[in-house]
């Protein structure tokens, strides 16, 4: 994580704030900082989203490509994550400084999206065993203000919601080689369902208390945090991956509390994100003409 210089006194102040359930910026332990979300701003990507969580700024672009499915999973499409820590975010990321953090984020996301119950890979399938979509999820960290895991997963989910895959109208089978015919109309496209797509929630332990959405300063004070990936299915919260990070240990009961906190927060975040995405959709509107020009 980005380095923040904090003195012992400052750390104690933050710790006391957490104990009083009144953090430096006036939040309680279960509150998130204000978020801004926009989708569809990158015109060259199939889907994109920008999320600003107080000082954390994330831009996600999704590119699509046709690929051959893995022989072991002929009905599944593919996802590939890439995280780029821009040197704008903090001077430490210059050169290869951000690669460790980037790798950690990629691993966390890959782990969370691994299960086919969390992300339905079959929606990316074109012809089983022969052709499938491969989505490149490129995540750019523009500014680093703490709680990257949550911000990145929220932005990735929003970008997936925004992703438009061109509709395949026909396929030719010629001597075992398939040729796809893809619709010419740029508005004729399919969308992905993102109901079960997981969100990562970082539950941070400061002193004896657990809290969500730590700022960069609070991250510097925490002994240990647990990243919980929450996937909603049939109205129930499931865990689709979790790990501990931060170089500390915790008791089993503490961990159970953290887990429950993470799950309930993840549930709320999920409904909130769905609501916001729907609003955004209505605001920008899909009221574009179905066909353009006189070709059809």
């Amino acid at each position: 994580m980005a380095y923040v210089a904090l003195s012992e006194a400052e750390k104690t102040f933050i710790l006391h704030g957490v104990e009083e359930d009144f953090r430096c910026d006036g939040r309680s332990r279960r509150d998130y900082r204000p978020m801004e979300l926009e989708t569809g701003l990158v015109s060259n990507a199939s889907g994109s989203a920008r999320l600003r969580l107080a000082n954390t700024d994330i831009l996600v672009g999704i590119k699509t490509e046709i690929d051959v499915p893995d022989p072991l999973t002929p009905e599944f499409g593919k996802l590939e994550f890439f995280v780029d820590c821009s040197a704008n975010a903090t001077p430490e990321f210059e050169g290869r400084g951000g690669s460790d953090l980037a790798q950690e984020l990629v691993l966390a996301l890959e782990n969370a999206y691994e299960s086919p119950l969390a992300f339905d890979y079959r929606t990316l399938c074109l012809i089983p065993g022969q052709q499938c979509w491969k989505l490149y999820i490129d995540i750019l960290i523009l500014e680093c203000g703490g709680n990257l895991h949550d911000a990145v997963s929220l932005a990735a989910k929003a970008a997936l919601h925004n992703t438009k895959l061109p509709r395949v109208t026909a396929s030719l089978l010629d001597a075992g080689v398939t040729d796809l015919i893809i619709s010419d109309n740029p508005y004729d496209c399919t969308r992905l369902t993102i109901d079960t797509v997981p969100l990562l929630v970082t539950v941070c332990k400061i002193g004896d208390y657990c809290l969500v959405d730590p700022s960069a300063e609070e991250e510097a004070c925490s002994t240990v945090s647990i990243v919980v990936s929450v996937s909603m299915r049939n109205g129930e919260a499931f865990l689709s991956g979790s790990h501990m990070t931060g170089g500390g240990a915790m008791h089993r009961d503490t961990m159970r509390n953290c887990l429950n906190l993470g799950l309930s927060i993840g549930e709320q975040l999920n409904t909130l994100l769905a609501k916001v995405l729907k609003q955004e959709e209505e605001r920008v509107g899909p009221k574009r003409p179905k066909t353009v020009g006189f070709l059809k």
Binding site: P71, P74, S115, N234, L239, G241, M244, A249, M255
Partner: protein
Amino acid sequence: MLRVTQTKNALLDGATIAEDLYTTPKDCEEGFESLELPGKNPKKLSPLLRAGVLTTVRGSAYMEYGNTKVMAIVAPPHELMRATARRMNMGVINCFVNFAAFATGELESVPEREKHLGSMLSKALEPVVCRTEFLNFQLDIRVLILDDDGCLLSTAINCCGVALVECGISTYDLVTASTACIYRDNVFLNPTAKEEELLRKHRGGHALAGSENSSSTTTGAPQEHGLITTASMDTFDQLAQCQQCGYLSPGTYVKLLDYTLAINKSLRQIIRRVLTARIKEQHELDVREKAESALEDQRLAEIIERLGRQGLDEFIQSTIKEDPFVKR
């Protein structure tokens, strides 16, 4: 599903080639059926563990768990290479995991897995080592996987824990780790590679199909599948790392967690025994060495005493041995 046509090959004289080009979810099903399902009583733990297997490094350990064979090497901390990490007020742990060329069947995913295991291993060991003791230093831990048959991460953690003690790095507690996974309502403790493969490679492919059937007919609950690796320090019941993948409900998660903690407790006894045996062995070696050096000292003292008594010339004459090759 891709249909594979059976190709007639004239050269093979009527024989056919290519049954199925790849493993399908059906094979996964067959694979599952061929597995020995875990009984009521979990299988007996019989890890083979050795401390101090190499003489070239300070701390080394070797562990066999089932067919999984892992070796860990710990060298004393040395100065930090990267200046950026120096701002941290703690020592840095770097873990490098390497697969031996013959360790695993599929070679494609090896670099990826090495990275993943390395990062998870350092996360698991960070809380164990007293990192405040080597400020501005880095501790390099190398793990060599000789054979992969499941539970790699947990075996590596166990092995590193022993190697750390062997190297004399101060740790807060002994660390033990174990793995549990669930697939189609069957809990496998310390799964073999075959069982892990069902989960990872087929990505619970069948679980998905099963969930659809069940949701349309009876329950509607998706088939859970998942794997938990827990590293714990049992003196104060602390969890050093708890990593999970797959798709689990919170209830199942806690259930699996408790299973792994129970195994960790029994593993701890074994590790303690191994370490005590190692220390005893080392003590015996030390005692013997001390006795030998005492003997040597005594011999030297005798010589010196003789030298003082006899005078130089006489001493030389008396100690010159007759040259056997010179004829009289």
